[in-house]
């Protein structure tokens, strides 16, 4: 249940400003890639292009064999500020994702509760987002995205607003979910340690207009201080 994602000669403009310059990138099916860079380097633009929220001015994105022409349920998105629907409970938010499948109501409910249990939020199913902490809200957002059974999971600084402890917990949860499901993950962050803790591969984006500055494979069991120093150097020399 995963797709390869390809960026081919991809450029994007914001108004008259070029924010991404002829970028090529291949994310193998089932891989976990972190897109690292300072604010405004175009990393969110890359994610929005893959999600189909914005259009490329040149080049193209393909997911599997199909070119990306707009948003689609095979590419799930987890947003920085969760983007939960405040008028629906946690379960209601997850069920929104399941409606597309045309399941009978009890089955939809059962699957939504299972998805919430998978992210450790079985108890909060009937709560509204405003009644949940930031970490819990992001768990719901993750459950909602995963319930749609996407083959690519796009995450835009999803843990940026969380405190350090909650953030570490969410990182462990995400790693475990990825190992279980094998979904292709593209994870945007500006935090080197987060990128190294999560991803198999770290791509450093920078410059104006944005382009790929470095592409590192993270050895299993990471914690390599030399690699961290090298990536920090790439980030700093932007």
């Amino acid at each position: 249940m995963s797709l390869e994602v390809r960026l081919e000669g991809l450029s994007a403009h914001y108004g008259d400003t070029r924010v991404l310059d002829r970028t090529d990138l291949r994310l193998p099916a089932g891989s976990f890639t972190a897109l690292l860079g300072p604010s405004g380097c175009g990393k969110s633009t890359v994610l929005n292009l893959v999600a189909g929220f914005v259009r490329a001015s040149e080049g193209r994105v393909t997911a599997g064999s199909a070119p990306v022409r707009g948003p689609g349920p095979e590419r799930g998105v987890v947003f920085q500020h969760y983007a939960l629907f405040p008028w629906r409970t946690a379960r209601g938010n997850v069920e929104f994702a399941l409606k597309r499948l045309g399941l009978p109501r009890p089955e939809r409910r059962r699957r939504a509760l299972a998805a919430l249990a998978e992210v450790g939020l079985a108890d909060g199913a009937e709560k509204y987002p405003a009644q949940l902490s930031g970490g819990m809200q992001q768990r719901v957002a993750l459950a909602r995205a995963l319930a749609a059974e996407p083959e690519v999971l796009l995450m835009d600084e999803p843990f940026g607003a969380l405190d350090a402890l909650t953030r570490t917990r969410m990182q462990h949860l995400l790693r475990a979910l990825w190992q279980r499901r094998g979904t292709t993950v593209l994870f945007v962050t500006h935090d080197i340690d987060e990128a190294l803790a999560l991803a198999e591969r770290v791509i450093v984006l920078g410059g104006t207009p944005g382009r790929i500055l470095a592409d590192h494979t993270v050895p299993a069991g990471s914690g390599d201080p030399d690699l961290r120093a090298l990536i920090a150097h790439h980030l700093g020399s932007d």
């Binding site: 999600a51 189909g52 929220f53 707009g70 948003p71 689609g72 349920p73 590419r75 799930g76 998105v77 947003f79 500020h81 983007a83 629907f85 405040p86 008028w87 929104f96 994702a97 409606k99 597309r100 509204y128 405003a130 909602r144 995205a145 749609a148």
Partner: protein
């Protein structure tokens, strides 16, 4: 427990001072009317006002006027609210359409409804159609503006999330845009209802044979100040009642919203 008062407790806490102010105003009114500072016959006492109110209630005049006014305001409001909401959703959701019609709205908005009474009379006569259309027009502009503003403020991430979860257009409208804009829609309807009352008065003063404002005009011609006070009291109470009902309905419908 005592640190966070329950909602009923909160309202009880507010009711005390409000009753105090109302009592003070009544007392002041009474003293002023009895002091002789105002020319006799120009300021009725609270008791005389209540008597005038009871009088028109018993004769059936109040019910007839109230019925005529409510029918006009209600029909005009319904028409204006439906069209205004539809336009608000359209221009709030489609920025290009919004850019095209914004100058028009900016031009029409500052023209008070009362300024349109002669035109409405010229076009539609002094019948019910002119009054309903005038009220509908005033409500339409108010509701359009509020709904437009609410819809254009719906977070783009909500709509993006819905699209990437595979929700087609009709689901995005009913399940995302509508609830997301619901707090603004309810605020728009409350404001629209108050505008409907203003336009109602303007329309009835411009020529009518029944209604609360028509009665005020007749009472004015006969200098029945006690009846005029009673009429104003009814208009005020009507406005407050409608607003409270809409606010209560809103609290139930948009329970997730803190505003």
């Amino acid at each position: 427990m005592h640190a966070t008062p329950s909602p009923p407790g909160r309202y009880r806490g507010r009711l005390g001072p409000a009753l105090g102010v109302a009592g003070a105003v009544l007392t002041l009114w009474y003293l002023l009317a009895r002091s002789g500072a105002v020319a006799p016959g120009l300021l009725p006492t609270p008791a005389q006002t209540a008597a005038a109110l009871a009088d028109s209630a018993c004769s059936g005049a109040l019910a007839a006027d109230l019925g005529a006014s409510l029918a006009r305001a209600g029909q005009g409001f319904a028409l204006g609210a439906v069209v205004g909401s539809a336009l608000g959703f359209a221009t709030g959701y489609l920025p290009r359409l919004s850019a095209a019609v914004t100058p028009l709205i900016s031009f029409l908005r500052p023209i008070p409804a009362i300024a349109l009474v002669p035109l409405a009379t010229a076009w539609f006569g002094i019948g019910e159609t002119a009054k309903r259309l005038l009220i509908a027009y005033a409500v339409l502009l108010a509701v359009w503006l509020y709904v437009h503003d609410g819809v254009s403020r719906v977070p783009v991430s909500h709509l993006r999330a819905a699209r990437s979860l595979g929700a087609p257009l009709h689901r995005r409208f009913i399940e995302v845009l509508l609830p997301a804009a619901a707090p603004a829609l309810l605020a728009a309807l409350r404001y629209g209802a108050s505008v409907a009352l203003l336009a109602l008065v303007a329309a009835e003063l411009g020529g009518a044979d029944s209604g609360l404002a028509y009665r005020l005009q007749v009472d004015g011609q006969f200098l029945r100040v006690d009846r005029m006070f009673a009429g104003l009291l009814v208009l005020g109470l009507l406005g407050v009642t409608i607003d409270l009902l809409l606010a209560a309905a809103g609290r139930r419908l948009v329970h997730w919203s803190t505003s």
